[in-house]
C-alpha cells in the first residue's frame, strides 16, 4: 500500500540532518524533554533499572492522551528480558536492546526507533510511549494513544428516517474504521499527512483506487502539501484553504458526519478528507447537486425519492426568489396578481407605513435573528425563543400594523423552504443570496430578478470543484447522469457512475448491462 507521508514523519528521515540528535546519556535526554515541555505536570517519566546489563531505562508518556492499559502492557513486555528462560532469550549487549525489543519482546503496534528530539516530542504529544535506555542515543516509541473520546453516537445534523444511525466522532481512527467497515475492499486507499505547524493535525485522504480519478487524487495531494497554516482545528479550515474561488458564496466541498454518505460518495469516485478532531468529513469534488441529495434518497423507494428531490428543488427556488418575486409583483407587476387577491393585499397593506421592500427586509432580518438565537441557546430555551419570536412577534407585528399578514406568510414560507436543503452550508449561501435578489427585485422588478438569476447561473457555471465543473451534469450536460439528478431512477437503471468523477471503471453492476 503506497502510503505517502509528508511533513516530519516519525522516523525523521526527511529532515534528519538538522534536528538535534538524542544524547547517549539518559539524564541529559530527560532533562531536555522536561525543558522543552516546560516541566509539564502531565508528563510521566517512569524509571527502571534492568538487572541483566545494569542499565537505566525510562518510559515516558503523557497522561490522559494515552491508553493506560496499553502503556502498562508495553512497559511490561519491554521489561520481559529481565526474566530469561521463557523462550525469548537474552540480548547479547546493551546496544542490541532495541532490536531485541522490536523483534522479540513487544507486541504493541507501530514500533519506531527515534533518533532526534523533535521527532520524539512529536511522538510523545500524539500519545506514544517512548522508551529511553541509558547509553544509547536512540529511543523506541510505541503507539499507545487513547484516552477519553466521544463514543459513536447518532447523527445530530444530518438526520434520516431510514438508514444507519452511526455518526462520525472526533477521533480519526474511529472514523476511518467506520468507513472501512462499510467498504471491505482492498482498493479502499488511505493516505495520511500532518498539517498545521502548531496543531500538527492528522489528516487522511480516502478514496477507492480504480474509481477515483488518479489526477484528482494527485491534485488534492499537491494542494494539501502546499497548505501553509499553523492550525487546522476543523475540516472547515481545509475547505477554505483549498477553495479555488475565494469570493464565491457557494461551497465547493461537501461535508457530512454520516459514514454511509462518505461510503456512497467514495463509491461514486469522489475523495473523502478526514480530519482529526472533527466529526465532519469533507467530500470533494462536490458539484451543486451533491448538496441537494441525501443518502436517504437511495434507501427509500425511487418514486418517493424522486418526488422529494423535486420538492427540494422547488423549495430551493422559493427560498431564493420567494420574497423577491413578492416584492417585485407588488411594486412593478400588480397586473400579474389576480384582482381579488390584489385588492385583498392592498387592503392589508393599508395601515402599513413602510414600502414593501423595507417591510420584507425587516421581516427577513427578524427571521434570521430568531434562527440564530435559536441555534446558539441551549435547546430548552431555544424553543422558547422560537415561540416568542415566531408566534408572538409575528402576530404582534401584524396587529401593530408594522407588517402586513401576507408578508409574514411569504417570509415564513421562504424560511421553512430554506430548511429543506439538506446541506446546511448550501442553505446558508442561498439565504445570504436571497437578500441580494430581493434588492434587485425591489429595484428592477422581474427584469432585475431575471438578470440577477442569469448572472448567478453564469457564476455557478464558472465555478469548479477540484477540476469538475460545479453545475455538471447540467452544464456541461451529460445525458447519462440525468438518471441521478432531479430524479432518482430505480437502482436497476443506475448502471454507470457519474461521468466526471469516475475513472475507467464506469459500471456499477458488472454484468447487469449485458442482458
Amino acid at each position: 500500500m503506497p502510503i505517502r507521508k509528508t511533513g516530519s514523519t516519525p522516523d525523521g528521515k526527511k529532515e534528519g540532518g538538522q534536528q538535534p540528535p538524542l544524547s547517549a546519556v539518559l539524564e541529559e535526554n530527560l532533562e531536555q524533554i522536561r525543558a522543552r515541555l516546560g516541566n509539564s505536570p502531565d508528563l510521566v517519566i517512569r524509571h527502571y533499572k534492568s538487572m541483566i546489563h545494569e542499565v537505566q531505562v525510562a518510559a515516558i508518556y503523557i497522561n490522559a492522551i494515552t491508553d493506560k492499559n496499553l502503556v502498562d502492557t508495553y512497559i511490561e513486555q519491554a521489561m520481559k528480558f529481565e526474566f530469561p528462560g521463557e523462550g525469548v532469550g537474552i540480548p547479547a549487549a546493551p546496544g542490541d536492546i532495541y532490536s531485541y525489543f522490536k523483534t522479540k519482546a513487544v507486541s504493541i503496534g507501530k514500533l519506531k526507533v527515534i533518533r532526534d528530539l523533535n521527532t520524539l516530542l512529536e511522538a510523545l504529544l500524539s500519545g506514544d510511549t517512548v522508551l529511553l535506555v541509558d547509553g544509547i542515543a536512540e529511543a523506541l516509541s510505541g503507539m499507545t494513544s487513547g484516552g477519553e473520546g466521544r463514543a459513536v453516537s447518532e447523527a445530530a445534523t444530518q438526520v434520516s428516517i431510514r438508514g444507519s444511525k452511526e455518526a462520525f466522532t472526533e477521533s480519526l481512527g474511529t472514523n476511518i474504521a467506520l468507513v472501512r467497515r462499510r467498504i471491505k475492499s482492498p482498493d479502499l486507499r488511505l493516505e495520511t499527512m500532518t498539517l498545521g505547524a502548531i496543531t500538527r493535525t492528522d489528516i487522511s485522504i480516502m478514496y477507492i483506487k480504480g474509481l477515483a480519478r488518479e489526477e484528482a487524487v494527485f491534485n488534492l495531494r499537491e494542494k494539501l502539501q502546499h497548505i501553509e497554516a499553523d492550525s487546522i482545528l476543523e475540516s472547515g479550515y481545509i475547505e477554505q484553504l483549498l477553495e479555488e474561488n475565494k469570493f464565491s458564496p457557494f461551497p465547493t466541498m461537501y461535508n457530512t458526519e454520516r459514514p454511509d454518505s462518505v461510503a456512497g460518495n467514495l463509491l461514486e469516485g469522489r475523495i473523502a478528507l478526514l480530519v482529526d478532531g472533527t466529526p465532519f468529513v469533507l467530500i470533494l469534488p462536490a458539484t451543486f447537486f451533491v448538496f441537494m441529495h441525501t443518502v436517504e434518497d437511495y434507501y427509500q423507494r425511487y418514486d418517493v425519492s424522486t418526488l422529494i428531490r423535486l420538492l427540494r428543488v422547488i423549495c430551493l427556488v422559493v427560498s431564493l426568489f420567494g420574497p423577491a418575486i413578492f416584492v417585485a409583483a407588488l411594486n412593478f407587476h400588480q397586473e400579474m396578481i389576480p384582482t381579488p387577491l390584489l385588492i385583498n393585499l392592498a387592503s392589508q397593506r393599508e395601515g402599513v407605513p413602510f414600502p414593501t421592500f423595507i417591510e420584507a427586509l425587516m421581516m427577513e432580518c427578524t427571521f434570521e435573528v430568531i434562527r440564530e438565537a435559536g441555534i446558539r441557546l441551549p435547546s430548552p430555551i431555544g424553543q422558547t425563543v422560537s415561540i416568542i419570536g415566531g408566534l408572538v412577534l409575528g402576530q404582534a407585528a401584524v396587529q401593530a400594523g408594522i407588517v402586513s399578514p401576507a408578508m409574514v406568510i411569504v417570509v415564513s414560507l421562504t424560511g421553512i423552504c430554506s430548511f429543506t436543503t439538506p446541506a446546511f452550508n448550501m442553505a446558508l449561501s442561498i439565504r445570504f443570496l436571497r437578500f441580494g435578489i430581493m434588492f434587485t427585485g425591489a429595484f428592477m422588478g422581474l427584469y432585475g430578478i431575471a438578470i440577477a438569476a442569469l448572472m448567478l447561473v453564469a457564476h455557478m457555471c464558472s465555478l469548479r470543484s477540484l477540476g469538475v465543473p460545479y453545475m455538471s451534469p447540467l452544464g456541461p450536460f451529460s445525458p447519462g447522469d440525468q438518471k441521478d439528478l432531479f430524479v432518482r431512477s430505480p437502482l436497476h437503471f443506475m448502471k454507470t457512475r457519474p461521468r466526471l468523477t469516475r475513472s475507467k471503471r464506469g459500471r456499477r453492476q458488472p454484468g447487469a448491462g449485458s442482458s
Binding site: 427584469y447 431575471a450 457555471c461 447540467l474 452544464g475 450536460f477
Partner: protein, 365 residues
C-alpha cells in the same frame, strides 16, 4: 493558457437560443401576411446552405475566426479592412437587440424607469458573462436552453388549452400568398434570423469535434426554425393577420389573452423572461463576435480587455441610434435589406468561392 473548448450540445443550445432570441418575440416577415409561418420554413433551406458554407470554411481553417481566414483567403490587404467592417455591423445589431428588449420592457411594465437603466443592467450582465469566457457562456446556455424549452412548452400548452387557437387564421394558404411568403423569406428571413449565424464563425474555433460540426449546426438550425414557425403560427392563429401586424410584440399580446379556469392567467412574466433570456444570449453572441474579431485584427491576446469598450459602445448606441421605436423599426428595415446581407451572406459566399478557386488553381503557397 488552456484553450477553451465547447461541446456539441453546448453549441447546439447556443445556436438555438441565438436563433430564438428576439425573433421569437418581434414580428418577422410582415409582408407575407398570415403565411409568415410558411415563409419561415421556406427560408430554412437557404439558411441551411449558408450554415454549411460557414461550416465548410471553419473546417478548412479550424483554428481561425472569420476575420482570420478572411485574411488568408483574400490576402491581408483586402481581408483586414473587410474584417474591420464586420465589427460595427455586429455592434449595431447587438445594440438593436438591446433596444428592442428595453422597449418591450418599458411598454410592458417599466413605464417610469429610464431606458438607460434598463439597458445598462442588461449590458452589465452581458459583460459579466463575457468576462467569464466562452466556456462558462456555453454552460450557461445549456442550462437556459432547458429552462427556455420548459417555458415554451408551458406557454404553448396553455395557449392551446385556453382554446384561443383559430385555425382559419392560418389556412388556406393561397398560391399568391406562397409567392409573398417566398418574397419575405428571401432575403429577409433568410438573413434575419438565419444568416445572423455568421457570428458563430468566431465561436466555432472553440468547438471540440470538428467532424460533428455539420450535424450539430444543421440540427440546431432546423429545430429553431420549427420552433419559430410553430410559435409564429400560434401567434398568428390567435391574433389574426390584422392584429399580428399591428402589435409591436405579438407574443406578448397573445399570452395576455390566456385565461384557463379563471386561475391561470397573466403569464406575461414568461414572455418577458423569454425575451430577456433570448436577448441576453443573442447580444452576448454578438458582443463576443465583435470582441473576437477585434482581438484577432488588433492582435490582442486577452479578450477580456475588449469587453468593457464593446459593452459601452453597445449600450450607448442602443438609445442614440434611433429617436423612437418606429424610427428604430424603419432603420431596421433598411439595415436588414441593405447592410446585414453583406456580412451574413455576400462575404461568406465570396470567401467560399475564392477559396475553392484558389484551391482549384493551386494559388495557395
Amino acid at each position: 493558457m488552456r484553450k477553451e473548448s465547447i461541446g456539441s450540445f453546448q453549441l447546439f443550445a447556443m445556436i438555438v437560443l441565438f436563433e430564438l432570441g428576439t425573433a421569437l418575440v418581434v414580428p418577422i416577415g410582415l409582408e407575407s401576411g398570415h403565411a409568415v409561418w410558411v415563409s419561415i420554413l421556406v427560408a430554412l433551406p437557404g439558411g441551411v446552405l449558408l450554415v454549411l458554407i460557414y461550416d465548410y470554411l471553419y473546417r478548412q481553417f479550424p483554428d481561425l475566426p472569420i476575420s482570420g481566414y478572411m485574411r488568408r483567403i483574400l490576402g491581408p490587404a483586402v481581408g483586414w479592412p473587410l474584417g474591420l467592417l464586420f465589427v460595427p455591423v455586429l455592434l449595431y445589431n447587438g445594440s438593436r437587440n438591446l433596444r428592442e428588449a428595453g422597449d418591450l420592457l418599458i411598454s410592458a411594465s417599466y413605464d417610469k424607469t429610464p431606458v438607460i437603466i434598463i439597458n445598462s443592467i442588461m449590458v452589465i450582465a452581458v459583460m459579466y458573462i463575457l468576462y467569464m469566457g466562452i466556456e462558462v457562456f456555453a454552460r450557461t446556455a445549456e442550462i437556459y436552453f432547458m429552462i427556455t424549452m420548459v417555458m415554451g412548452l408551458v406557454c404553448n400548452f396553455v395557449v392551446i388549452a385556453a382554446g384561443l387557437v383559430k385555425l382559419h387564421n392560418l389556412f388556406p394558404v393561397h398560391p399568391g400568398e406562397w409567392l409573398e411568403a417566398l418574397r419575405s423569406a428571401y432575403p429577409n428571413i433568410w438573413i434575419f434570423p438565419y444568416g445572423e449565424l455568421v457570428c458563430f464563425a468566431t465561436i466555432l474555433p472553440h468547438f471540440k469535434s470538428a467532424r460533428k460540426v455539420n450535424k450539430v449546426t444543421v440540427a440546431a438550425l432546423v429545430l429553431s426554425s420549427f420552433l419559430l414557425s410553430f410559435t409564429h403560427a400560434i401567434e398568428m392563429s390567435v391574433l389574426g393577420a390584422d392584429i399580428y401586424s399591428r402589435t409591436t410584440f405579438p407574443m406578448f399580446t397573445t399570452i395576455t389573452l390566456v385565461n384557463v379556469a379563471n386561475f391561470i392567467q397573466r403569464l406575461d412574466a414568461f414572455v418577458i423572461l423569454t425575451l430577456i433570456i433570448g436577448v441576453f444570449f443573442k447580444m452576448s453572441v454578438y458582443c463576443y463576435a465583435a470582441v473576437a474579431i477585434a482581438a484577432d485584427l488588433f492582435r490582442i491576446r486577452d479578450l477580456q480587455k475588449l469587453v468593457l469598450p464593446v459593452g459601452v459602445v453597445v449600450l450607448l448606441s442602443s438609445f442614440v441610434s434611433a429617436e423612437n421605436y418606429p424610427a428604430h423599426m424603419a432603420d431596421g428595415v433598411v439595415f436588414l435589406e441593405r447592410i446585414l446581407p453583406i456580412p451574413c451572406a455576400v462575404v461568406p459566399i465570396l470567401l467560399f468561392a475564392v477559396h475553392r478557386l484558389r484551391l482549384r488553381f493551386k494559388l495557395y503557397r
